[in-house]
Symmetry: C2
Subunit: 133 residues, 2 copies
Amino acid sequence: MSDPVRRSTKQRAAIYEVVQVLPNFHSAQDIHAELAQRGSRVGLSTVYRALAAMAIEGDVDTLLRDDGETLYRQCDQEAHHHHLVCRQCGATIEVDGPTVETWTRRIAAQHDFDEVSHTLEIFGRCPNCRAKS
Amino acid sequence: MSDPVRRSTKQRAAIYEVVQVLPNFHSAQDIHAELAQRGSRVGLSTVYRALAAMAIEGDVDTLLRDDGETLYRQCDQEAHHHHLVCRQCGATIEVDGPTVETWTRRIAAQHDFDEVSHTLEIFGRCPNCRAKS
DNA sequence: AAGATATTGACAATCGTTTTCATTTAGGAC
DNA sequence: GTCCTAAATGAAAACGATTGTCAATATCTT
């Protein structure tokens, strides 16, 4: 009935550590590869399980890419927020959107929907990448 | 260099027809099944290819679900717009968001990004489904 | 230390989607 | 209509991210 007690393990610590250190968003597979690189031999399933758990706990930040792949990143802000992501280099800026929050709530209310959530990501090309092309 | 010429086939016509008839969003597999149901034996690959092409042409409307599955639907409006989707029954309302459009453009401009696009979907529970529970 | 159970990891399985490639077909040229 | 060329199809295999299985292992409690 109740959730199992969470135990702290070397693997989870290693995974968390890597996520904290890596800049921007990375896939579970990236993180698994980075662990291998550092000599931490952690199973791929474990990486997936740990990241999913951390995402639920709010310890990491997630982003669903256009092709359906899930990316993870350290969580800078606790609060709900969105991302401005560079298509080319993946640089990410966290953006806060009171305007959007209000707007989505209003739209939902207008149509009498409840238990509302939303997803919003902005994609573009950052000044750096523009300069290079 | 230039795009291949597009030819019109029975299969594409059948696929388009089904999309027009079906209410709300459906996966490529759903549409393939519906075609089979109607006696139209169209290959699954063809359905995927046709839907992807139609999406690019703007002939159908797409929605990326949380789990990464792509859903297709007839396109009511030509213009860019977003969706308010019921998590339970899948009912979809198209919403127009001048507020959001302006906001995303402003955010992008603030950070000096160009070639900007964005994804926004609102999920919730519709009045019908609320009544049933 | 010992017991109970959460966690791990190698591997198989899933599932949506894409690719391959031989065969068929559309559409223009004649 | 007939030919021709390239586009389109479809069956099956390949793919890639993710999840399930389950025996072995590690953690926390007592």
